[in-house]
Symmetry: C4
Subunit: 252 residues, 4 copies
Amino acid sequence: MGKLFDIALLVLIVLSVILVMLESIATISKQYHNYFYIAEWIVTVFFTLEYIARIIVIKRPKKYIFSFYGIVDLLSTLPSYLGFLMGGHNLFFAIRALRLLRVFRILKITRYVGESHKLIIALKNSRPKILVFLFAVLIVCIITGTLMHLIEGKESGFTNIPISIYWCIVTLTTVGFGDIAPITPLGQFLAGLLMIMGYGIIAVPTGIVGAEFSKSNEESIAKNTQVCPHCNEEKHLSDADFCHNCGNKLNE
Amino acid sequence: MGKLFDIALLVLIVLSVILVMLESIATISKQYHNYFYIAEWIVTVFFTLEYIARIIVIKRPKKYIFSFYGIVDLLSTLPSYLGFLMGGHNLFFAIRALRLLRVFRILKITRYVGESHKLIIALKNSRPKILVFLFAVLIVCIITGTLMHLIEGKESGFTNIPISIYWCIVTLTTVGFGDIAPITPLGQFLAGLLMIMGYGIIAVPTGIVGAEFSKSNEESIAKNTQVCPHCNEEKHLSDADFCHNCGNKLNE
Amino acid sequence: MGKLFDIALLVLIVLSVILVMLESIATISKQYHNYFYIAEWIVTVFFTLEYIARIIVIKRPKKYIFSFYGIVDLLSTLPSYLGFLMGGHNLFFAIRALRLLRVFRILKITRYVGESHKLIIALKNSRPKILVFLFAVLIVCIITGTLMHLIEGKESGFTNIPISIYWCIVTLTTVGFGDIAPITPLGQFLAGLLMIMGYGIIAVPTGIVGAEFSKSNEESIAKNTQVCPHCNEEKHLSDADFCHNCGNKLNE
Amino acid sequence: MGKLFDIALLVLIVLSVILVMLESIATISKQYHNYFYIAEWIVTVFFTLEYIARIIVIKRPKKYIFSFYGIVDLLSTLPSYLGFLMGGHNLFFAIRALRLLRVFRILKITRYVGESHKLIIALKNSRPKILVFLFAVLIVCIITGTLMHLIEGKESGFTNIPISIYWCIVTLTTVGFGDIAPITPLGQFLAGLLMIMGYGIIAVPTGIVGAEFSKSNEESIAKNTQVCPHCNEEKHLSDADFCHNCGNKLNE
């Protein structure tokens, strides 16, 4: 019963987000304006009822209201009311898309959360290294951006330093929109250097996280093991019943 | 003899796919229209005969007909007949290109399949982690896409949320077509953040798969070791003296 | 007290760099010209006083003046004076942005430096491999660039070899601006080969650095073990009972 | 003496390649036409003399002439003579750029070759896996390319299947020129899927090569070790003098 409700809620959240998306397309929005209006009302009322029900049912309502998911739940309903009152939709679009975050709470029950937990731990462990790396990338971007602004001048889009830094980030991350591109030989040479450098250093975050995953893999193997009571040998296979070193029974 | 047939079939499959490609080029298609017509007939007849021969020869024809390769074989012949009957080619183009999938069946006999098997296993093991990751990427794209639509407005291509999400995917995956690009300072700032984030998280799938490959390498080392003479247990640690399953001595 | 000064200096450095950036934007620069002039004076005077104070306080001023940070400190003040004297700003822009490098000295005290130290060591160890790799990439770019210049001719932007090499670097590093793109079928075929090759070899630097990180992780495990009480040897294997250097028992 | 000659030759090779590059720039080529003519003669005569000298000095000239470097050496001189005779430069440009390959022979003596040897071995070991991977990528590109041609039609550059496949390669490798980009919602949706897939599978070659490097690192550690003559313990540290397991001397 609870599971059925979760699935229904999941479908409704996804539908409401698709609704917000479709509404942003001008041609569709105009043609089916009334349908969107009604659908938005239904979704909002349902979410409001659910929000109130949660507050009533839950033991410590205060803790829920000020928790991350509590605020997300409130923000799933409030913008619609404000939008209806004030008419201007645009300001509340982004907030309504936050409804998607509610999906996470429902997915909590699935087996994928264990995996995402591992992912988050590996990322947390490598965070200081990645922060140092991103900081170094930012400084490279600021200095190269200033140089590109000086070299390329105002002819080819590098009109000021912030936009040149933006171009450096676009280039170093190998995105490369092409809306701004160097046209002087010296600018192209510097851009080439920047790209080859970017190619060389893209390895760094990958290496960091990869090593972290390898470590966590090894540790999860190690966690499964026990120490042999006879010879104190460690690091047995996870399904071992007998010590591989002295042949005595483990876990007696 | 069977090998010769396989090679001939391989060449024919590749040729028929090249034929489909060349036929799609307007100038070539008009000039050599008759040749394409004849070549298509020859290929189709040959594939049809091969398909019928397989059904006759094989022990359990039903199982073959409804297997993956059976359907691919049927789809290699049927669209041509339908195309000849109805005249409209375009609808059957994509299906005819599926002929290429037949290549896999023939390549099965080569040593590369062992390698692809390892690849597939490593990918399967890391699938839950990659799915969680891709789901997180999608949510980031939806929220950033909505924000970009609000910031950039209708001036620079971010005309609706779905197209903004499309732009976010293009940017986060570091493809960067440049058909849509932010022009407001705030939009460029958010784009810069998105790119640096994308640069930092591109490490995640790489780390996952890399760790998986390392693990499968290590496991293939574990496999190198002896079988227990008492209980036939495999997969001992490389330095094991006693079987971890029955406790008897290895290598007596 | 010293920490407070460091934080104040950090804020001032970041502010002065933001100032340089904003000044480069034509519209802002014109409107707030006087404010920028005053702010620049304040920052410059402060940095000059700090520079002089350092020389007075420090024991070996000569060593400081000619050290990396000494030169950076000097370059944080000098360009402003030269700019005030000569009027022309542009020439001194890049040098003023170097102020950002001062940030590193202050950040030295934070815990992130340990991480960046590990990063730098891993990069240093993999430097010869990465240099060989980048050299190979450069030769591929020169040869492919020449071929593209010959194939594409002067129709589509590949007007000379240096610019074709620039395009090859842009493509191989997967940046892909799109300011230059092949239009002949043969050129597009060669570009396709180059891209798939680039996709295959992007793995190389990542693999190098990743393996280096894994190694440094393993070594840091080795470091966790005991010091030999007889010869003070460090870095034993984690399961060592006897010192590998003098043969005496560990952990008696 | 031999080393000095090598360095002189290295400089000459690099200079001759830079010459070829500069000559391809129309404005420079016209202005300094005579200088290029003379420089080309000098380089060609020098390379010819060196080539003849090698044939005379070497013991088995036949083996040299038909070796890889022998052919490269011949191709460094011949195109210039043919160019002088026939006037048409363009045809011989690419071949002249091959002079750069001569650099490798000279660099053979440096310490970097050991590193490149390791790189090549790691790449060779992971070649079958990478080939399988690239083959799968190619099939994905052919099928998606055909689909995109059908969906996008002739409005947005996907005019035939080969060019659509070219676009798929550009997109899947995350290059993204933007010369061709989908404009229909369905095409953009398929492109989004392709990109996210490309993002997920970029991990594969990286994982393969990374695991290969890790393995070769571990093996190079293992190679340094010896078996203890007293307790048969393996896997000592590379600088171990005594067995860490029984405390007896190694390598007596």
